[in-house]
Amino acid sequence: MMLNKLKALGAVLLALLASGCATKQKPYDYAEFKAARPASILVLPPMNSSSEVIAPYGMLAQATQPLAESGYYVIPVSLASETFKQNGLANAADIHEVPVKKLREIFGADAGLYINITDYGTSYKVVQSDTVVSADAKLVDLRSGKTLWQGSASASSAEGRQNQNNGLLGVLLSAVVNQIISTTTDASYKMASVTSNRLLRAGGNNGLLYGPRSPQYQKD
């Protein structure tokens, strides 16, 4: 009896272990990333495909933390914006076209992060309003011009309501998301924080690798 119960529990645990964190996606090819091992990142002012004018501010203000906590030096985002402006570059589309060699020359960063915001804001509906922030990002080596990594992430206030079977982490994130929504007026800004952490914090599935300032550096 006892033995059978334990066996059953063991099987459940094995299933948890196997499915809980494992990704069903194809693993990312990190060959270029590992060859380049950038130490510093310039976050370019994000492109904005959403209809919310303020979206780039929300994303740019909250891009430093996940990258720095992942072990990278991040070029001060406010000064970089100012430097672009002083060089006559006020819009993100133009900035994203600047040759990497030029960026490297001015900022001295190893890599550039090109963010594109695809969704930002709250859609008000009769029954419920959803706040969604989605973005994709590309990390480019400013020394070689090679793409080191690409990814995308999204966060939505609807997550908490859907009874997702995401395991412990999913439940926790949903709780955080719900709390954010119920306690803030600038819901999109707070949601952008969840999105940027999902997008830019190392250690996730197919996410960025850890940088030199992290204790996890080269262990991934």
């Binding site: 334990l6 645990l13 430093t64 990278y72 001060p76 001295g108 960063a109």
Partner: protein
């Protein structure tokens, strides 16, 4: 190659149980820690830094004095907590000082950024070379 003694037979299930229990405990620990272990200890103190950046972008440089006060206060808290100051913090603060005419403070903050983060050296040097042209409005 004879059949096991009766006493041995009684023992086996309990031994098995112990092994399974140990395995179960290990499995539980793995399952609980496996997903959670990317929640590392923070490398830096953050406080209001990102919110202040957002504020700075939104006000388009019109709230600089208030932002300096908020960031300096936050800096005191970080020091009290023994938290490392995050990348960009000192440089951003320096830019705000420059905007209210305190250019010596700008140089000092850029130097601090450079000392804390040698990776910033090329850009900090670029800024120091160019600050006379007016870094910020």
């Amino acid at each position: 190659m004879e059949a096991l003694s009766p006493s041995h037979e009684r023992k086996r299930p309990t031994m098995m149980n112990k092994k399974l229990a140990a395995g179960f405990a290990l499995g539980l620990a793995l399952a609980l820690s496996g997903c959670a272990n990317h929640q590392q200890k923070s490398l830096y103190g953050w406080g209001n830094y990102q919110d202040q950046l957002y504020e700075h972008f939104k006000t388009e440089g019109n709230g600089n004095a208030a932002e300096i006060a908020a960031l300096e206060e936050n800096l005191q808290k970080m020091r009290a907590n023994n938290d490392a100051v995050p990348p960009g913090y000192h440089a951003h603060l320096g830019m705000l000082y420059a905007s209210i005419g305190k250019e010596d403070q700008l140089i000092q903050e850029l130097q601090t950024e450079k000392t804390l983060f040698p990776e910033s050296a090329p850009y900090m040097d670029f800024l120091m070379r160019n600050y006379k042209k007016g870094l910020s409005k």
